[in-house]
Structure formats: C-alpha cells, structure tokens
Symmetry: C4
Subunit: 123 residues, 4 copies
C-alpha cells in the first residue's frame, strides 16, 4: 500500500477519570489513542504529554508494520503512570507516516459515554 | 456538482462490541463508515482492515453515483466476517473522490452511546 | 475579522431517529449542522442531501454576517421534509467562507447520547 | 519541540445546558475548548463568540509555554458570562501555533453524554 498518514499528530483533550462503574477491562473508564501504521516499516513513536502546571513527559511506543495499536493512556507506565482526574494533551511524533484517532470511554456513571475524533494532523 | 472529497481515507479506531442490549437492528451495537459519493460516476472502494496481530484483510464495495452508503462493518462477510471485541483500523481507497465519516453506536449497556468523526483524509 | 473557513463542506453521516423519549424541543432526537459565518457578508448556502436509493434534494439557507445558525435537519421543510429513520449525507456550498460542524442528539432511549465532528472541509 | 499547530481555529458548535444532574464540578454540564501550546513561547489567544441574533463578544486567555489549558466556556466572565441554553460558535486567534479540541459533557439527564472533535484548523 502506498504510504498514508502523517508524522506529527496532536490530541488536545486528555483526561482519565479515576472512577468506573465496572471492573471489566472493556468497560473501565479509559482514554485511548488508536494508532495505525499501514506501511511496511515499523513506526517508532514518541508521545509527549503536556499538563496544566508542570513540564511535559515523554513516552515511547513501537507500532509494527501493517498493524494497529489501540493504546490506552491508562496503561502507560514508563517513565511514570499518567495521573487520573488530571487535564493533559498529547503530541505524537513518528519516523514513518501513521494515523491517530482519539477515543474516551467514560463509565463514571452506570451507563457508558463515548467520544472520538480524528486527531489533529500537522502539515 | 463539482467533484468533492478525497480518494484515500482512514479510520484508526475500530471495534465492534459483541454485546447489545437490543435485538432491533437500529440499536444493535455497530460500527459504521458513512461513505458519500457526490459525483456522477460510481465509486469502487477497497477497504483494508488492519489488526493488532495479524495481516490485513481487503474488502470491496461500490457506492453508486450521487448516493450515500452507510456501511456497517458488522455486515462485511467476504472474504470473512469482522471479528467482534477486536481492535482494528481501516483504510479506504476509491477511484473517484468520496467522503468518509465514522460512527459507532454502542449498546452494551441498557442506554445507547454514540461517537462520530470525519475520517482522516489523505492529501 | 480576517476571513475564516471554506466554501464547500460535507457531512457523510445523517440519520434522524423518529423516536424520542422527550417532547421538550431541546431533548427531542435531532441532527444538526452548526454553521458559522464569521465574515461581514451574508452567506447564501445550498445544502444538497444525498440518499441511499434516490436522487439528491437541494435546500437553501442564509446565514447572516457575524452570526451562527444551528440548523436542525429536522426543521427543513422546503422542498420537502427530511425522512426519519433514513440514511443520508449532505454537502454545503456557500458563496463566502463558513465553518460547519455536525452534531446529533439521540434520545431514543431514556438517556441522551451525543456525537459531534467538524465536517469535511474541501480544499 | 518543533512548532506544531495553527494560529486560527474555529468550533461551530456551542451550547451550555443550564441543567445538570450533579453539582460536582467534574460532572456539571460543560462545554470545553482544550488548548495545547506545545511551543516555548506563551500563547496569547483571543476567543470571539458568535451568536444567532447579536454581535460577537471577544474574550482573551493566555496559555503558557509547554502547557495545556482545558478552558470551560462556563467559566468565562470578562466582559460577560456566556448565556446558558443559547447557541453560539467560537473563533480562536493566537500569536503562536496552538491546537484546539472541543468537548461537551452533558448531564442534563441522570447519565452523562460526551462529544468531542478536533476543531477546524484554518489554513
């Protein structure tokens, strides 16, 4: 497949609710970046998290060639876990073109709420 | 109408819940790609589905001239059904300009949750 | 204000549920196109609705200079009302730059579901 | 980090419900613009709110270098509070590149509804 995507993306919204009405992994409140690498080379992606009142923190993930990674911010652990109930934003920088979409499943209440958007693709 | 749209699109999010609180087709959990072909020639669209841990699978659909197709990933059957409760992403490649929007209706719980976004339009 | 926006937009998703759990206008199921005209000249906008199995239908609205119009597809009446429980897509063509965002409030069930996305802005 | 973002953005949707099922700040109905300034200079942002039937109103906020601001329209007070149950749109103009995403949490009913989209980024 001909290359598709961009190398730099951003999700300005970010917030992981600490509460959930369910313990099942599928329905625990989570904030996700879905990352597609449709190309034939692995994508090395750095994810910089920005906060309201402290310096950014950088994470690194690899998305294999021709694979998708639905990455939960909840699961990031190195260099530190992402604080709950805290506003953040993120910037993705990849060495090959990728596509990024943002989703939150929110189960603070007994019913599930969802939101999603294609991330901002930088020129 | 003057041509409108792009030939290559991507939806990085993809997930069909296996559960639904309703059996009515309108309210069964579903993941949809709304495809508009506003032009005067039929659109031949290949849809490549990418997964977390196996090779991509290609589907083909036709969207008639001046028509919309709200395609449920749930309904794709050839060459195989789309697995439920499984992360995927998709890339759309058309021979004429189209517009693609992504929607999920999620009725795993007794109430309905919705999300939608214009897909990523490649340059 | 310096001109902002584009002249051609599209929302590939479109569906007005016939059912609502509420009779209050704010909470009746509705599908909306929010149209901002930030400029100093009135915007004359034609809206073409596309369907799955019949020819498109054209509507016309005016958005005054420096005003926003949150247009419910439910309220379109001329040349005909928009059928309920029916898939459609829309294309917006304006004589001056505008910005279009799509929203659905869905109250088929007792709780409210929402979705929204910036529409596709054609180059 | 290399500059990322745009200087002019718009959110065509805007509506703050006056009702909420909860008094807790996190779950009060709110309309938010998440603004990321990933650069090394403070961003001075003017936000122009447009209405259906009166002239626009301008607000000003600063987003510090390498910080995110999840700005609730509910909290804007100067020159005036944003009216509830009223349609509006917004345009963001910054002196340095920023990224803007729109979110509404709606708790008019006992359960929470969410929607989000990357704002329109002007060329």
């Amino acid at each position: 497949m001909q290359p598709i995507g961009r190398k730099r993306w951003s999700i300005a919204e970010g917030y992981i609710p600490s509460q959930s009405s369910f313990s099942d992994r599928a329905l625990v409140s989570h904030e996700t970046a879905c990352i597609l690498n449709a190309g034939d080379q692995d994508a090395h992606v750095s994810i910089t998290l920005f906060f309201a009142d402290r310096e950014p923190v950088v994470y690194r993930v690899t998305v294999s060639a021709r694979r998708t990674l639905h990455l939960r911010f909840n699961d990031l652990k190195d260099p530190e876990t992402v604080p709950r109930d805290t506003d953040f934003s993120s910037v993705f920088e990849s060495d090959v073109p990728i596509i990024v979409q943002h989703t939150r499943l929110d189960s603070r209440r007994a019913e599930v709420a969802l939101m999603s958007t294609t991330a901002y693709a930088d020129a």
